[in-house]
Amino acid sequence: MDDKQQEKPGSATADSISQEIEALAVRKLAEKFPGLVEEVIYFRGEITVLIPKDKVIEVCTFLRDDPDLRYNMMKDMTGCDYPEREQRFEVIYQLYSLPYNQHIRVKARVGEDEPMPSVTLLWHAAYFQEKEAYDMLGIKFVGHQGLRRILLPEDWEGYPLRKDYPLEGYH
């Protein structure tokens, strides 16, 4: 693959506009949890914050309930595997604020054998989606009532969306 044309993230003009609009969530997070946000990424008008996994429930509750933010809908939740990292999984929450029509992406890193706090108490939608993330990547959500495989058969071996799982499967 040719990587020469790779663009540096955060160079487009749309990103600077988004920085102004979306700064509210980042600023509020910095006020409420000083030094907690590990990384803020602006790309293509979207904002991503990286937080430690132990604080996921606190941060998500704050984002959901703060009257100026109201990220009351969890649109999407998934995981991504980076096997070269010490904590190989990233859990990605795509939050949406219906009252203010704003998006924010919250990410947390978690290792293979580490427990990940479940957000099923914050959003009902997490019940199905955490099951899927467990099914596909083997991320163990603590506090989830009924963490079992959902798409694959119960006796399936391995977690298909891990990068070390072969495309054609095990035979």
Binding site: E7, T48, C80, W123, Y127, F128
Partner: protein, 422 residues
Amino acid sequence: MSRSIEDSTNELAGYGLMPSPNDQRQIVDAQHDIFKQEVTLNMGPQHPSTHGVLRLLIDLEGEIVTKITPDPGYLHRGMEKLGESMFYNQFIPYTDRMDYIAAFTSEQAFVIAVEKLLGVTVPERAKYIRVVLAELQRIASHLLWLGTHVMDIGAITVFLYSMREREAILDIFESYCGARLTLNALRVGGLPQDVPPIFKEKVREFIDGMPAHLAEYNGLLAENPIFLRRIKGIGVISAEDAISFGLTGASLRGSGVNYDVRKAAPYDAYDRMEFDVPLGTTGDVYDRFLCRMEEMNQSLRIIRQALDQMPDGPVMTDDVHIAIPSRDATMSSIEAMQRHFIITLKGFTAPAGEIYAGIESPKGELGYYIVSRGGSIPYRVHVRAPSFINLGAIPHMAEGEMIADLVAVIGSIDIVLGEVDR
């Protein structure tokens, strides 16, 4: 309650007597006890009302549903894993196989997400053609929903009529790209070809005739007391719960939440279209039914505007690193021929980064979360499948209802199993 039904019948058989009134009562009591026991029922994966291969485990107490556990996955093909091994344009036909009832919007979501990742702008004409085709696809999908949903409840006639109109839409798709269901009608950066000259005329003919057909369906259903008794007050979900479950599309709007991606984050040419977003009030099956019926009317409005405003011009972006050259260009210029080979064999290079983009598909918000680490192959492709997420709310909607109403609830959230299982 000391005697079982067997004891009573044995005793009666032994004496050869008619049962006394007391015994009769005890027999009835014993039978009643049997019916009071909880029964676990397995519905699907082969069941006509599950609209595919959905399996539901249902706990029943008499006719009342006490617990539902959906068990999807019978159509799982590992689309997300496959997406990690191919070029962006190669993944488009796979998206057709997810929501196969609305293949066009399924592709549109992926293509718009990749265009956002690349930062490429699409020509105006392509945007308008996409709007026309997407709204036609929405009507086709809603017609199939209408036919199957009301057939599950018992009104069979509408199915035959709605298939007739859907056929006309599939003919329009066939005239555009040669395919009827799995279209492969989009490319990153625009469209593979312009619409045929007869296209506008055909679409106009369809949208002129459609209001009369919608009136026909309404005549059969909207004032039909049997149909209304089956769907009013069934499968209620409050606005708060609907948001918490992440419902989108007509399933969310039926509960009165005004959220439509075409209004909230307009893509393609929707920012220039005038249309209303129909909303329900109580969030029952009836409200979701009304929302979808009205959405078809609004789609006709959008198509009319898009046809009127559609400008002339190219349908593929002029960015030579992304655009697949047209057939004419490849046959007449050597540069276009070389580009054609390079883009087909090596793909195009995307910048590193991650994006999420969603569109309003007929089922709800269909979104793609794409992670790129540079190169021509995505690192991770995740589908926010509205059918999968809406399915999660079925237990909440249908628990406490009668088993016959469960069928109405499944129909009312309009799932397609290709998208649930991916």
